[in-house]
C-alpha cells in the first residue's frame, strides 16, 4: 500500500525534526539547570535587589556556580529574600561568605557575586537552607548620583 520511498522520506522527515529539536535543546539552550541537575539551596536577605531576577546567574570570580531560583519578601520584616540554587559540587562555602548584587558591564544584566569567606576551624560551612548573613544590596543608580551630588555639595562648603 505505502511505497518504500514514502516510508523512507517519512523516516527522514521525522529524524530531521527530532534532530532539530535535539540540537535546539543541546546547542541553543543552556543544558544546565533545566534538567534539574544536582543542587542545593541557600538564602540571603538584601535591603534592595535592584534588577536581580529569577534565573540570574550566581558567580564566584566570574564562574557560574548556580542560579537564583526564587525572590520573595520575608513574611515578618518585608525584606527581600533571595533563594540561591547552588550546584552540588560547590558545597563547601564557609559561613563567612558574603554575597553582593553586581552588574555585568555598564548596562548589563545583574548577577549575584559570591565572595567565599576564609576557612577556619572556628567557622563552619554553610549547610543547605542556611542564610548568608553578609550581604551587600544592589547599587541603585539614582542613589549613587544622589550621594555623589551630596558629597560634592558638602565638599564645597568646607
Amino acid at each position: 500500500m505505502v511505497s518504500k520511498k514514502v516510508e523512507l522520506l517519512v523516516g527522514f522527515f521525522v529524524a530531521l525534526g527530532l534532530a532539530a529539536l535535539l540540537m535546539l535543546s543541546l546547542k541553543v539552550a543552556n543544558s544546565g539547570m533545566g534538567g534539574g541537575g544536582e543542587s542545593y539551596q541557600l538564602f540571603a536577605k538584601f535591603d534592595n535587589i535592584g534588577g536581580l531576577k529569577v534565573r540570574s546567574p550566581i558567580k564566584v570570580g566570574g564562574v557560574v556556580v548556580g542560579r537564583v531560583s526564587n525572590i520573595s519578601l520575608d513574611d515578618q520584616d518585608y525584606i527581600p529574600v533571595v533563594t540561591l540554587e547552588i550546584y552540588q559540587q560547590y558545597n563547601k562555602f564557609s559561613e563567612a561568605t558574603s554575597v553582593s548584587i553586581l552588574t555585568a558591564g555598564l548596562l548589563g544584566e545583574q548577577y549575584l557575586g559570591v565572595q567565599p569567606g576564609f576557612v577556619h576551624e572556628s567557622v563552619g560551612t554553610l549547610q543547605p537552607g542556611d542564610f548568608i548573613e553578609d550581604t551587600k544590596p544592589a547599587l541603585v543608580l539614582e542613589e549613587l548620583i544622589g550621594q555623589f551630588l551630596f558629597s560634592q555639595g558638602s565638599g564645597e562648603d568646607k
Binding site: M1, V2, V6, E7, L9, V10, F12, F13, V14, L16, G17, L18, A20, L21, M23, L24, S25, K27, V28, A29, N30, S31, G34, G35, R55, P57
Partner: protein, 258 residues
C-alpha cells in the same frame, strides 16, 4: 424584524456548525490509529502533510533567519551589542517566529490541500461510498490526517527554528563578522530549555490542533461542488491563520508575561 431574524438564523448556523466541528474532532481523536491498519495510513499522511511541507519550511526558515540577523545586526551594532545577535535571533525564532510562521505556512500548504482533498472526496461521493462500505470515514480518512498534523507541525517548527538559527549564523558570523564563539555562548546563556524551547513546542502543538481541526472540518462540511470546495479551501487558510495569530497572543501572554 428581518434583521433580528437573520441574526438569529446566523447564530443558529454558527452553533450547529460548531457542534458538527466538535463531533468531527471527538471522533477523530477517539480513533487513535491502531497499529496494524493505522500505521500505513499514518505514514501516507505524514508524507503528504509533513514531508511535502518540508521544502517550504526549510527555505522560509533560512531566509527569515538571515533577514533577522541582518536587521538585528544593524540595530544592535549601534549599541555595540552585536554579541546579543545570537540570543535575539534564537529567542525570536524559538518563541514566536518558529511556531507561528511554520503554522501559517502549514495552514497554507497542508491545511488547504487537506480541505481540498477531503472536499473532493465528498464531492465525488468517496466519503459516502466509504460509509456504505461500512467503513467510518472519520476513522479511515479524518483521524490519520489529524494525527499526522499533530506529529508534523512541532517537528516542522523545530526544523524551521534550527535552520533559521543556522541562516542567522551564516549572515551574522560568516558574513558580518560577529564572533562565532560569542554567538553560540551568549545564545546558550540566554535561551532556556523549558521556558523557550518547550513553550515553543507547546505552541506549535496547539497551532497544529487548530489548523488541522479547521482544515478537516471545512473539508468535511463543505458544499460538495467546485465552488463549495474552493470557498472551503480559502476559508481554511484565512480562519486558521487568524486563529493561530490570536492564540499566539493568548499563549504568549500566558507563557512569557508574569
Amino acid at each position: 424584524m428581518q434583521q433580528i431574524q437573520s441574526l438569529g438564523k446566523k447564530t443558529l448556523q454558527i452553533i450547529s456548525g460548531l457542534g458538527r466541528a466538535v463531533i468531527i474532532l471527538v471522533s477523530a481523536l477517539m480513533h487513535v490509529p491502531n497499529i496494524r491498519k493505522g500505521t500505513p495510513l499514518l505514514m501516507q499522511q505524514l508524507y503528504s502533510v509533513g514531508v511535502l511541507s518540508l521544502l517550504i519550511i526549510i527555505v522560509s526558515g533560512v531566509f527569515i533567519g538571515m533577514v533577522l540577523a541582518l536587521q538585528g545586526y544593524t540595530i544592535l551594532v549601534g549599541y555595540g551589542a552585536e554579541a546579543s545577535l545570537g540570543p535575539m535571533v534564537a529567542l525570536s525564532l524559538l518563541r514566536e517566529l518558529g511556531p507561528v510562521v511554520s503554522a501559517l505556512l502549514f495552514a497554507g500548504r497542508a491545511g488547504s490541500a487537506l480541505t481540498a482533498e477531503i472536499g473532493l472526496m465528498k464531492a465525488t461521493e468517496q466519503l459516502s461510498s466509504l460509509e456504505m462500505m461500512a467503513i467510518d470515514p472519520l476513522r479511515r480518512v479524518i483521524a490519520p490526517r489529524f494525527w499526522a498534523g499533530f506529529i508534523s507541525l512541532p517537528l516542522l517548527a523545530g526544523i524551521f527554528s534550527m535552520v533559521g538559527i543556522l541562516g542567522a549564523h551564516l549572515v551574522g558570523v560568516d558574513w558580518l563578522g560577529v564572533d562565532g564563539g560569542t554567538f553560540w555562548s551568549v545564545m546558550q546563556d540566554q535561551v532556556d530549555f523549558q521556558k523557550d524551547i518547550l513553550n515553543g513546542v507547546i505552541k506549535s502543538i496547539v497551532f497544529a490542533f487548530v489548523v488541522m481541526w479547521i482544515a478537516v472540518y471545512k473539508g468535511y462540511d463543505c458544499e460538495p461542488t467546485s465552488e463549495g470546495i474552493s470557498r472551503a479551501t480559502t476559508s481554511t487558510v484565512v480562519q486558521s491563520s487568524l486563529l493561530v495569530l490570536f492564540l499566539d497572543f493568548i499563549l504568549t501572554a500566558l507563557m512569557f508575561v508574569k
